[in-house]
Amino acid sequence: MVSLNVLTAVCICYGAFLFLIAFAAERAGRQGRSGWLKAPMVYTLSLSVYCTAWTFYGAVGYAARSGLEYLTIYIGPSLVMIGWVVGLRKILRIGRSQRVTSVADLISSRFGKSNLLAVAVTLIAVVGTTPYIALQLQSVTQSFAIFAAPEGPGAVADTQSLALWVAAGLAAFTVLFGTRNLDANERHHGVVIAIAVEAVVKLCALLAVGIFTVWGIGGGLEETLARIDAHAALGQWQMDNGRWSGLIFLSAAALLCLPRMFQVLVVENEDERHLRTASWAFPAYMIAMSLFVMPIAVAGLTLLPEGSNPDMFVLTLPLSEGQSGLAVFSFIGGFSSATSMVIVAAIALSTMVSNHIVMPIWLKMQPGQGAMVSGDVRHVVISARRVSIIGVLFLGYLYYRLSGGGTALAAIGLISFSGVAQFLVPMLGGIFWRGATRVGALAGLATGFAVWLWCLFLPSFGDGVVLSQAVLAEGPLGFGWLRPQALFGISGLDPLVHGVLWSILLNALVFTLGSLLSFPSPMERLQGAQFVNVFQHSGTPRSWSGGTAQSEDLLIMAQRLLGAREAQALFQDEAGRQGVKGVLPEPSADFLLRLERELSGSVGAATAHAMVSQIVGRAAVSVEDLLAVADETAQIMEYSSQLEAKSAELVRTARQLRQANETLTQISHQKDAFLSQISHELRTPMTSIRAFSEILRDTPEMTAAQKARYGGIIHDEALRLTRLLDDLLDLSVLENGQVQLALAPVRLSEVLERAIDATRSDGAEMVIHRDRIAEGALVETDADRLTQVFINLIANARKYCDAPRPELRIAVSAEGAAWRIDFIDNGSGVPRDQQAVIFEKFARVGEQKAGGAGLGLAICREILARLGGSIAYLPGQGGAAFRVSVPRRSAKAAR
């Protein structure tokens, strides 16, 4: 016989063995030798946390009580794994792209990162999982008690303290390996590998007991089958269709909704492709687990004394046959089942509790500092998780003590299942229906949970414990239609099927109605699109655009959550991607999203969003996000942005064309006006020439003086024509830039001298004041062209100065690298409104006096532009004043 001390030692050794494995795996992972850890088979084995102590011990008991019905618990998940790979892949993809940390995170993230919803899901999960943890503790203590039984009832006098020890041991293990790294997306390699090992151990243990039962004591396969057939209760294929389909549905839902299943299925998943292996290997595993359930049950019922607990046949059968070794192995199998479930469930729940309850409260309690608090937030998060783990296990222990461990194991398990199955509605609704809203999800969950509490959970404590016999039979306060096991007067259903049916049905109904009647927030629409179209949206969820975030603040926050090294690496990587020097990247929308995703791996989407928004200073959703939602898919977005770009381009082109057209029209108008002007300027002298030449020809009686006068007019007008043509040609050459400049150093005095000499003959006598000293300045320019300018100005003064005694003052002064030559007369000057136009072609001021074509100043302006200087009218000088500015050294010398 195995003594309790030996058993305890075995437990401790086994625990130490798991420690070692987990430790080795973590080390291998850190050293980059984690290839085999990420094998699809490990993933499949880790899924076996589905098979808990309830399955290990309880399935046999279940079979002993209800025949083949225990199979439903395996059929549900198998159907999902085999038949619904597409849906699972979608959940995995969403989990990965949104960096989901738990089932609560998934649902809250979908519905606009609502923390309220996360809290609701977390609470339901805790309530639904606590009995299940209690169940595991119970099964471990019961199995201890089996071994203790021969030693007398006093040997395990205090099973409750034993349960406490088991709970404490499990808490220690979970804390050690479950909170090693903060980011849930870094995954718990050690835990996963330990669970995979436990999966192998429990399968082998059950197979060993099974083989012993069939071939060791049962006398072979045929005899065993015959015995099963012969057994009155088990031999018949009783199938209650309603209950069977209810249970299959429930267990299928459990695969998706149980926090621990979500943890291993989604959060710990390394690679979507592992799903392909798991889709056949996991059902195969479960077939192997269920293979010997029936033979063991039958053997137990026939061989063991009446009244033995069928839930413990797996242990008592080998014990009664004196196979202590096998019994211990079987015990370890059961122990493995219990511990693996508790560890994963504790990790999953603690993540939810710390991310959605503890952290938000803690953040709120940091007045005014928010995400920018000093100190290591990481430490807070990890502590929160550790406390949560211990809390969850303690709750399980409390439940175990309060419930007294009396009820059949399987019953609690199913009630737990149906509690968390409420998540199925918002989960599936959220990932397949974009119209689903937060209000709908909350209302549906609340309804489903309430119905579950009333119909399943409270009655599960037993008649008269929480709900009195009267309430069960007559309904509360006499409301018959509210009877917990016959809602709305529909009786005759199996209580479990009844509860599941109503809770899920009402949940779905309220969810749908609530979603249809409420209006989703922008963030919900955004996340809805991201979730429903996760395969199309290969990219990232959009939620930040620019903002005034300080990268440094973000880094400080990120360091606290991710650790200094990881955060700096992340920022540096992003800075590199943005092409920014240094460690701090621009807080671009993309980067903020990436950061938020990284952080959500540590603290959950809602909290991460809240923290980033505290720093970025803006929790609202941008217009860009709304556009992202409005457009059905990324393709449409891309297409529309292409269209947008094209249309913007068209608008640009159109504007350019319009401008070009305007310019052309303007040029065309100018050309028309110019031609019209030239026509006028040419026709005017020609009119005189023609008229007087006809007069000379047709008038015989004419004095010699008259003839001379008219001949003189003809001659003058011919000269005027010539001058006009010369000017036009000159202007054309200057404007086309074809002019050849002969640049050479020359004194200004020399140029002025030549100009004054050339104009001496025209017009009235005029006194010219000069500044001989200043005129000595040297200038590098084209002397002929500059002379032309001066001639024009002096000639104009002579022509237009209307003073009785005309005077012209020519002043030279320095202006930086240029010389200023001012020509100021004492006439009445150019009227203000004309000053702007005098440099235009054909602009003439006042009456036609000397037959100029109005091209002189236009030519001056062109010449000075070529020489690198300028000419301007100088107002307010008493008379007409022009300022010429020429560079001392021509910049055009090189040309």
Binding site: R683, T684, T687, S688, A691, E694, T699, Q848
Partner: protein, 122 residues
Amino acid sequence: MGKSVLVIEDEPNISEAIGFILSRDGWRVATHANGVDAVEAVQARKPDLVILDVMLPGRSGYDILRDLRADAATGALPVLILTARGQARERRLASEAGASHFMTKPFSNAEVLEAVNALIGA
């Protein structure tokens, strides 16, 4: 007898040529070189005929013509428009403004005589 003509033209040589031709034909010729007070000049001299250049300093010949046409005293006065700009557009503008006749520079002397005599109905 003797019909009177007012030549409103800013080019002195052209005024002189027209004056010479019309004087020999028996006209009393007066000249005016400015657009600004051309209307007043017409009203003051009350000529039988006006020869009006379009491009005048200070005021366009068309504006002057419009004013003359708007005034009852000069509304029916024969006006010969002279322009150095030969486009068809000018001809249209002139007829719209109420020109009696339109001539493009340079003109032949015989043409001018023919036109003025036709306008005066002699």
